[in-house]
């Protein structure tokens, strides 16, 4: 039953991706502008990084090429999170709640959390991954790092778990808007918190470090996957990432279910 339900949601998601692609490509200019902006953003980031590394040789133990890989993976991470869950979904949730626009989709025989957080993927995010991948490539070639194929699976597990954790944190924070009507800054707050993941986790010291590993585990989103890519891998990251992803996802689902009991819709 659960497997069938999962398959049904996958099928619908595929349909939604196609819809998003058709829609995004309808507005051609926006589609190409989006690419341009993304390349510009990465380029300016790269220039800033180069300027910083003219004066220093490393940031919290990360050299220039390691930082390139970290920023590249950070770009892939943030574009994926924004494109799949935030731009047209979680960012719009407070507004949809205020206007009662959730009503019709909440009556559908679908998982309502799936509906509110994944209904409209932002197709343009896929090409936006390219600058991130280029940075990773530049970091690897420039720094002369080798890639151990045996570490690909642990890397993927930690990275995907990090995405699940990030999504869950975003979902939990945005869910508060069910109570705090018109709480438009909530998704922004979630995004700012999650973008801390693009910094090396070693810059956080003492209690902050524990906080960002266990309470808000941003270390599992970009830093640990980057270190794994570069061969600096610690075995317990894999089970810890999986366990944290499961706990955060379940918590977000329970919290959303609780929030729906308090959903007031909007007057017609």
């Amino acid at each position: 039953m659960e497997v069938n339900n999962f398959r049904k949601h996958l099928k619908i998601y595929w349909q939604l991706i196609k819809f998003a692609a058709i829609r995004d490509m309808t507005y051609r200019l926006n589609f190409f502008l989006e690419w341009l902006v993304e390349f510009g953003y990465v380029l300016t980031g790269l220039i800033s990084l180069r300027i910083i590394f003219v004066n220093i040789s490393e940031v919290a133990g990360w050299n220039f090429h390691q930082m390139l890989i970290l920023i590249g993976l950070g770009t892939v991470f943030s574009e994926t999170i924004l494109g799949l869950f935030f731009i047209f979904n979680l960012r719009k949730l407070p507004e949809k709640i205020t206007r009662g626009e959730l009503d019709l989709i909440l009556t559908k025989p679908l998982n309502s959390q799936f509906v509110v957080s994944m209904w409209r993927p932002y197709f343009t995010f896929i090409p936006s991954l390219i600058p991130g991948l280029i940075l990773i490539y530049l970091g690897f070639t420039g720094g002369g790092y080798g890639f151990d194929p045996w570490l690909f699976l642990p890397f993927l597990t930690i990275f995907l778990s990090g995405l699940v954790i990030a999504y869950s944190v975003g979902m939990i924070i945005t869910t508060l808007s069910v109570w705090l009507i018109n709480a438009t800054p909530l998704p922004e707050l979630a995004e700012h918190l999650l973008f801390l993941a693009e910094r090396p986790h070693s810059i956080f010291k003492g209690p902050f470090r524990i906080f960002f590993i266990l309470v808000l585990p941003i270390a599992f989103m970009v830093s640990f996957p980057t270190q794994t890519l570069m061969g600096d891998f610690i075995w317990w990251w894999v089970p810890a990432a999986l366990a944290l992803a499961a706990v955060f996802l379940k918590t977000s689902a329970l919290f959303w279910r609780l929030a729906l009991k308090h959903y007031q819709s909007a007057s017609s």
């Binding site: 829609r23 009991k261 017609s268």
Partner: protein, 327 residues
């Protein structure tokens, strides 16, 4: 057999009150006054298979809130609701596959895509077998005459065409229960009539239980034999539309055509003059004295024609809502 059972349903809200102006807004940042609102206050009713029931009341009466409780969107404070044997707010997919909610002011069609894409998506969502989907779609498209617009972007359709396509999107899974919230709002009279004819036909063809809310009395008069009247969250009437007249109409309308000009002051002694523009006049007269008043008019005035009619249903309901006398 009832497909919808509502028992002692209560839904209360807390709304915050703000004093006017900037100062009021600043004060409300620190301290807010809340007022409880009884949106739905202890209502009970049942609806059987194939029934088409009008759910009417003034703005803010609790109509939409009730429909939202019945659709599982809102959790009530108290009471029980069973729709097709399910508790709606459990939001079980087995239940959600069997009902549909159409809100005239909200749409589910994808704005930038042709309506056919939304229908295909809904087929997947409601897991409608391909053959059944094609059959239902063809039937609905034919009845609503929308063959030509299926592949045109929704945003390029007229409001009427969009509403027709909204109905198809809501009915593609052949729901057993249908909640229609102001389905004719904003439509021109021709389109209103078409939508009404369709609802009537659909109800007969599929034997669906339908609850219709509308401020347009033509919708209710043409479609519903039974009406539920709700006001300030309370159900004040549940019965046949014709019973409203016998229960609440305490006046009759006398329409007169005079053969000569008369003194309107004399006319006012017979009953309440609603209008007088020679040669026509309309009077509202208490039901029990209406025959007597008619006789008096014929005897003392130069009458060319006289008719005695029941009050219009719209007027009775309007008076009900403004007079608030439900005894």
């Amino acid at each position: 057999m009832s497909v919808i059972r509502v028992r002692n349903l209560k839904k209360y809200y807390r709304v915050y009150q703000k004093e006017p102006g900037l100062l009021g807004s600043m004060k409300s940042l620190l301290r807010r006054k809340y007022q409880p609102v009884k949106a739905v206050d202890n209502i009970s009713f049942s609806i059987g298979r194939g029934e088409l029931v009008g759910f009417i009341g003034p703005n803010g009466a609790g109509k939409t809130t009730t429909l939202k409780c019945l659709s599982g969107l809102l959790f009530p404070n108290e009471g029980t609701v069973e729709v097709l044997g399910f508790t709606p707010w459990d939001r079980k997919p087995e239940f959600q596959k069997q009902f549909s909610l159409v809100m005239g002011q909200k749409n589910q069609l994808w704005w930038d895509l042709p309506p056919i894409e939304t229908f295909i998506l809904n087929r997947e969502i409601y897991e409608v077998p391909q053959k059944q989907y094609e059959q239902t779609l063809n039937e609905l498209v034919k009845i609503l005459e929308v063959e030509e617009v299926l592949k045109i972007q929704t945003r390029k359709l007229s409001l009427g065409q969009r509403m027709k396509c909204e109905l198809i999107a809501a009915l593609i899974h052949s729901p057993k229960v249908l909640f229609l919230d102001e389905p004719t709002i904003g439509l021109d009279v021709v389109m209103q009539k078409r939508v009404r004819d369709f609802i009537k036909l659909y109800n007969r063809r599929f034997k669906s239980a339908i609850i219709l809310t509308s401020h347009n009395m033509d919708d209710v008069k043409e479609l519903c034999q039974r009406v539920l009247i709700i006001d300030r969250g309370r159900l004040v009437f549940d019965g046949r539309l014709s019973e409203i007249i016998s229960k609440y109409a305490d006046h009759k309308i006398v329409s007169v055509v005079f053969s000569q000009e008369i003194d309107p002051k004399k006319l006012a002694k017979i009953g309440q003059v609603k209008s007088y523009h020679f040669p026509e006049a309309t009077l509202s007269i208490k039901r029990e004295t209406a025959p007597l008043a008619a006789a008096e008019l014929l005897q003392h005035f130069p009458i060319a024609d006289l008719t005695l009619e029941e009050e219009k249903i719209e007027d009775i309901i309007r008076e009900l809502f403004t007079g608030k006398d439900y005894a």
